[in-house]
Amino acid sequence: MSGGNAESGAPNLTPILDMVFQLITFFMLVMNFKAASLDLAIKLPVLGSAIPTEAQELETLVLNIDKDGKVKAYGREQNIKTLAMNEADMARRKAKIEGKPIEGDAEIPITVVIRADRDLPFHDLNGIITDCQQNGFRRFQYRAMSKATAPQAEA
C-alpha cells in the first residue's frame, strides 16, 4: 500500500477505513437486542449457583419488577392483569393458527421471566405470579446475578 499521493499531499485513508469497518463489524456482532427488554436499573439478588443465561428459552415474557411492585415489560410500565391476559390470548391464537390449539386451562408455552428487585416483598411478587398463573402460565424463570458480577450489581 502506498503512503498517499505525494503530489497532492493527501493522506491515504484506506487503512483507517479498514480499521473503522472492522470496529463497526465488531459492534454489530456483539449487539444484543434481547438486552433491550431488560431494565438494567433493577438490582437483582446475587446467587452464586444460578445457571448462566446461555441456553435461553425460546418464548419468554420478561417482567421487570421494581421494589415498589411496578411491572415494566417491553420498555414501559404495564398493568400485569391486562398484560398476562393479552399475552395468553396471543399465545392461544398463535397455537390455533399452528394447528396445536391450547385447550381451556392448559399450559401456555411461554416462560415468564421474573427480574425483580432484591428488596421486593413477596406479597407484591405473589400477586404478579398469581395473575400469570390464572392466565395459564406455568413456567417461571427467576433471574439473579451470578457472583462474578456482584460488584456491578451493588453499584
Binding site: T14, L17, E57, R143
Partner: protein, 169 residues
C-alpha cells in the same frame, strides 16, 4: 444495439474515501454510544402450577423429621413454611409441622433426606412464604429447593408458592 467502445484515461483512478470515512465514523459512533454489554445473569426455572390443597396425610403433627419420613409415602405434596421478620429476612423454615430448621444448609439436607427415600411420592412442594420476605431471600430458598434430588433421580422442579396469612407470620 450499437456497441460503444469506452476510452479510459490510462492514469490512476483516485477514489475519494473521505465521504465514506465520514459515514463509517458516524456508524461507529452510533454503535459505540448504543453499546450495552448484556449483564451476566443466572436463573432458576421452575414449573409452578397454581396451589391447591393436595395433602393426603392425616393432620396429626409429627414431632420430628424421622417420623415424617415414615409418613411420606402417603403424601402428594409437602408443605414448607418460610416466615419472615419485619426486615424481610428469613425468620424460620419449617417442614410440615416439624421443628424449625436453623438455616438453609440444614433445610437442604433435611429435604434431601426426606425426598430421596425410595417410595417417597411427593409430587410437589408447596412453599408458604411470609408476605414481607424479600425477593432476595425467596430466591435463596427456591435455589435450595431446585437442587433437591427426588427418589426418581430427578431434581425437584415442581413448586407452588402461597402467601402465609398475616396471623401466621
Amino acid at each position: 444495439m450499437s456497441r460503444r467502445k469506452k476510452h479510459r484515461d490510462q492514469g490512476d483512478v483516485e477514489l475519494n474515501l473521505a465521504a465514506m470515512l465520514d459515514m463509517a465514523f458516524q456508524l461507529l459512533a452510533f454503535f459505540v454510544l448504543t453499546f450495552q454489554p448484556a449483564p451476566m445473569e443466572g436463573y432458576i426455572t421452575l414449573r409452578m402450577p397454581p396451589p391447591h390443597p393436595t395433602t393426603k396425610q392425616s393432620s396429626g403433627a409429627s414431632a420430628n423429621a424421622t417420623q415424617q419420613t415414615e409418613q411420606l409415602p402417603a403424601l402428594d405434596s409437602l408443605m414448607v413454611t418460610v416466615t419472615s421478620n419485619p426486615e424481610g429476612d428469613i425468620g424460620a423454615i419449617r417442614i410440615e409441622e416439624a421443628a424449625p430448621v436453623p438455616d438453609l444448609t440444614t433445610f437442604e439436607q433435611t429435604m434431601t433426606d426426606m425426598l430421596s427415600v425410595p417410595g417417597a411420592s411427593v409430587e410437589q412442594v408447596v412453599l408458604q412464604v411470609g408476605g414481607r420476605l424479600k425477593y432476595e431471600n425467596l430466591v435463596r430458598v427456591l435455589d435450595v429447593c431446585s437442587h433437591i434430588k427426588l427418589a426418581s433421580g430427578e431434581t425437584l422442579n415442581k413448586l407452588s408458592i402461597v402467601e402465609l396469612p398475616d396471623s401466621a407470620q
